[in-house]
Assembly symmetry: C2
Homo-oligomer: 482 residues x 2
C-alpha cells in the first residue's frame, strides 16, 4: 500500500532506511552509515535471510589477494569474459563490467569486515567442497569457457567448514552494528510512504501487532530477496520452478518486488532462475548425465548449476547419473552425499529396462562415449580429458529424484530439483529503482535478489551473494548521498 | 501518462472505447456494440494489425459444424486435453476451459460474420497448406498428444488462398462497422485518463499532430498487441527473441502493456514466446531435424511451432533438415518454399564436414534412426510410422539460417528464427485488467496479445487469433455492461 504522507505520524526518523537484512541489505546499511548517514535496517525476522543459509561462496576475481596467495593470475577482462558467457545469454553488461572491475576492491572490503579466506584451492568438482580451502572452481576450467577466457578459479569461500553463509552474515551484521546501523528485527514492512511529489519517504511497518511509521530523509533501500517462496508469483513469472523446492530461508515471498512495482518501479527478467539438480558432481564427472531418453547432453565438468539448467530447463526428465564401479569407488563415501544407486547391473540393457529408458538408448550413448574416451576426446560436449575413461560393467545409475541423504536420515527427494529466482526490480548501477520508461523512482533503491542483477539466463554460485553485496554497497552509498 | 480528469476537455464521448483494431479489438467492439453500447475504436494506423498479416488459422474444435461436415467427431474435453499439453506447461486452465467449452459457439459466431471455411481436410504437414482446405492438423496426430487425446484436426482456415488473416480482419472490421462501431484510424493513444477514484475513464490520443481526449462512460478495452517490436521490452522480458525477426505488422511495440501497467495492472508470463524456425515441415518429416551437434531431438511430425521451440529454446544451433533424395523428391517443388540444400553428398561424413558437425555425429544419429525405421518404430521420439523410412544416400541438408525463398527472389534468411510474444497484462476471463493483488483496475479491460491468454510456455497456430477473438468478445461484453 502506498500512502500519502500528509496523514501519518512518524515513529522513527532516519536518513536511510534499509528493508531486509540479508547480504544486500547489510552491505547497503554498512556503506550508508560509513558515508555519514543515520541508518535503520528492518528485518521481519532476524538478520540473515537466505544469505545466512547459503553456501557462502562469493564469485570474485580479477586478481584478488586470495588468488595471488594461491599463485594465480587473473584480470577483470578474463573474469568478464567468463561471466558474460556463464551468466548469459544477455547478462547486464553495464553491471557486469562494474562488478568485474571492482572485484579486487570488493574482496578487500569483505576481508576488512573480518571475513577470512584460506589460501588454498580445492581442485575437484562439487556443490560444496569437503575441505576448508578458500578457493574453488566454478566452471571456469570447463568447455566452452576454456576457449573464451583463461581458466582461473574464482569461487571465494569464507573460512569455515561446510556452509559459510552464516559466517558471511555474522560479519556483515556485526560490521553494520559497528558502523552505527540500528537493526530492528521482527519488523515487517507493509507499505511504502510517498510524498505528494511521488518521492518514497518511508515505510509503514508492523511489529508484534503494532503499526509503525518509519521516515527516511534520503532514501529507502529494498533488499528483501526474490520470490521463490510465493507460489502465485512463481506461477505468473517463473513457471520453471512450479512444483519444485526452493533454495531460501522460506521468506523469499516477493514482497519487496510488489512494493517497488506499486511505487512505479518496473521489473525485468522475471523468468530467470537458478536451478539445482540433486546430482553429485564428483560422480557425474566420472561417468555421465543422461536424460529421460538415455541421451547425454552436457560436459559434466561444468559448474553443477549449469548442468542442472541444461537438464531441467532443456531436457525431458527424469535425469540420471550413470557411472561404473571404478567411478563410484573413486568418490569417497562421504562425498557421495548419501546417494544410492537406483539400479546396479552388468549390462546397459538391464539399466535401460530398470529405469524405463528406450531400448538401446544407453547402449548407443555409452558406445559413443567410450569410443571418444578411448580416443581421448569428447567430440560432442568436450569434457576435459582428465575425466574421460571408457565405462565398463558393472554399471550403477542414480536417480536425481531421490535427492541427497547426507545424514543418512532419508533422502531429501522431492522432484530432485530446487531453485530460486533471479529476476526482479529494474535498477541503475547505483541501485536506483527505475520505471518502465527508465526514469528513477525518487527515493527508492534496491539491491540483491529483489532486483534483476548481473544475470542473464545463466547462473554461477557466488554471483548472487557477490552481486548482492557489491550492488548493495553501491545502493547504500547512493541512498546516503541522495 | 495517466492524467487526472479534472483538467481535460472531452473531444469524443462514448460508452466503450477500444484501443487497437486487430482481431481482439474488432471482436470486442462488435460485441460491445451488439450489447447496446456506443463504441469508438481507435487504431494508430488502419484496422488490421498483426492479425491481418497472419495466416488466419483459428484453433477451434469441440465439434464445430466444419469438423462435422468433414465427418469428424470432437468434444471440448478432447480439445482441452490436447491444448493443455500443447500450450503447456502451465497454461491458464480457467481461460482454457472456457475457450474449449465455448469453441463451437465461437465458430458459429465467426461464420455469422461471413467468414467461410471449406469443408475439406488438408492431411499433410505444413506451416501453410498449399490448398484451400478449410481444416488442417496442428499437431493433434503426433506423439505424445496421440496418447493424451483422440487425434482430431482443429486448424480452421478461412476460405481463401494462402494467408487468410486479411480475410478474417476484413469480415471483423465490416461487422464492427455494421454494428455501429465508429472506427478512428491514424489515432495513437498516448495515455489513459483516470478519475480521482483511479477508475480508467478514457484516453488521450494524437492524430496528425492534434491532441484529442476520448472519454468512455463504461470502459476502455486495450487490444494493442504484444511487444515483439520493442527491443528494450524484448531484452527485459523475452530475451529468447533478442536478435531474431518478429512475426508482426511492425507495430507490436508493447505500448498497451505499458499503459496498463501505469494504470496499476500487472503482467504475467512475459518471457513466453511463439517461435518459428525456417524449416519446411514436409521435408523435415520425411527426414530429420538435427541440432548443431548432429543430434536429433524431436518427432518431426509435431506442429512446426513445437519443433521450432524444441530447437531454438532447447538445443544448440545451427539447426538443419537432413533428407535423402527420395524424401526431397517426394515434396513438390512449390511446397519446398524455395529452400536449397546447403550440402548434397554421398556420405554422412561429407555432410558432417560441410556443416561443421562433430565427426560421426550424423552417422550415429542416422544409424539409430534407420534401425528404428526398419523396425517400424521411432523408439526415441515416436514419429508416426507413416513417415518412417531408412534414409539412403545421397543426402541433402538444408540450413535453417538460409530461410525461405518462396518467390525465388533471395532467401528470407536472418537467423532463420522469428517469433512474437505471448505474455502481457493479467486479466480475468472477462478481460478485466488485474493488479498484482488480483484486484480489478476499474474501467480497464484488455484482450489479445496485450494480455497473457490461454498459453503457458507452448504455442499452436490459431490459438492467438483464437484467444484474441474469443476473449476479445468477452471483454467487449463485460465493458458494455460495466
Amino acid at each position: 500500500m502506498t500512502v500519502s504522507t500528509t496523514d501519518v505520524l512518524t515513529d522513527v526518523l532516519t536518513d536511510v532506511l534499509v528493508v531486509g537484512v540479508g547480504c544486500a541489505g547489510a552491505s547497503a546499511a554498512i556503506e550508508a552509515a560509513r558515508a555519514g548517514a543515520s541508518v535503520v535496517a528492518l528485518d521481519r525476522a532476524a538478520p540473515g535471510g537466505s544469505s545466512a543459509v547459503s553456501g557462502g561462496e562469493l564469485y570474485l576475481g580479477g586478481g584478488t589477494a586470495l588468488q595471488r596467495a594461491c599463485g594465480l593470475e587473473d584480470d577483470p577482462d578474463q573474469m568478464y569474459a567468463y561471466l558474460h558467457e556463464a551468466l548469459g545469454p544477455h547478462p547486464d553488461e553495464e553491471k557486469l563490467r562494474l562488478y568485474c572491475d571492482g572485484s579486487v576492491e570488493h574482496y578487500d572490503w569483505l576481508c576488512g569486515l573480518g571475513i577470512g579466506f584460506n589460501p588454498s584451492l580445492y581442485d575437484g568438482v562439487s556443490w560444496l567442497p569437503p575441505t576448508a580451502d578458500g578457493l574453488m572452481w566454478l566452471g571456469e576450467n570447463a568447455w566452452p569457457f576454456t576457449e573464451l577466457a583463461r581458466p582461473v578459479p574464482r569461487g571465494h569461500r569464507p573460512a569455515t567448514d561446510g556452509y559459510g553463509g552464516w559466517l558471511l552474515m555474522d560479519r556483515l551484521t556485526t560490521a553494520a552494528r559497528e558502523a552505527g546501523v540500528d537493526i530492528h528485527p521482527d519488523t515487517r514492512v507493509t507499505g511504502l510512504l510517498r510524498d505528494d511529489d511521488g518521492r518514497v519517504v518511508g515505510v509503514r511497518a508492523r511489529r508484534f501487532g503494532e503499526d509503525l511509521t518509519y521516515r527516511a530523509r534520503r532514501g529507502v533501500v529494498l533488499a528483501t530477496g526474490g520470490f521463490a517462496d510465493d507460489p502465485a508469483m512463481v506461477a505468473d513469472h517463473a513457471p520453471a520452478l512450479v512444483g519444485h523446492s526452493t533454495v531460501s530461508d522460506g521468506g523469499d515471498d516477493g514482497s519487496g518486488i510488489r512494493l517497488g512495482v506499486e511505487a512505479g518501479g518496473s521489473v525485468r527478467r522475471m523468468a530467470a532462475t537458478q536451478i539445482a539438480l540433486s546430482v553429485v558432481p564428483a560422480l557425474a564427472v566420472r561417468g555421465m548425465l543422461v536424460d529421460g531418453l538415455g541421451q547425454r547432453f552436457v560436459n559434466e565438468d561444468v559448474y553443477p548449476g549449469r548442468f542442472s539448467q541444461a537438464a531441467v530447463l532443456h531436457r525431458p526428465g527424469p535425469w540420471f547419473t550413470l557411472v561404473d564401479e571404478s567411478g563410484w569407488e573413486d568418490v569417497p563415501e562421504r562425498e557421495r552425499w548419501g546417494v544410492r544407486p537406483a539400479v546396479v547391473a552388468e549390462t546397459l540393457a538391464e539399466v535401460e529396462t530398470e529405469l524405463g529408458l528406450p531400448a538401446r538408448s544407453l547402449e548407443d550413448t555409452v558406445a559413443r562415449y567410450n569410443r571418444d574416451a578411448a580416443a581421448g576426446e569428447d567430440t560432442l560436449f568436450h569434457k576435459d580429458p582428465r575425466w574421460l575413461r571408457p565405462l565398463e560393467p558393472p554399471y550403477a545409475a542414480v536417480d536425481a529424484r531421490r535427492g541427497f541423504d547426507p545424514e543418512g536420515t532419508g533422502p531429501r527427494g522431492g522432484t530432485g530439483v530446487s531453485g530460486f529466482t533471479l529476476g526482479g526490480l529494474r535498477t541503475s548501477v547505483d541501485g536506483e529503482v527505475l520505471d518502465a520508461a527508465g526514469a528513477v523512482v525518487p527515493g527508492l533503491f534496491a539491491a540483491g535478489r529483489v532486483t534483476s542483477g548481473i544475470h542473464g539466463a545463466g547462473y554461477v554460485s557466488g554471483t548472487s551473494l557477490g552481486d548482492g553485496t557489491f550492488f548493495g554497497r553501491r545502493a547504500g552509498r547512493a541512498a546516503a548521498h541522495s
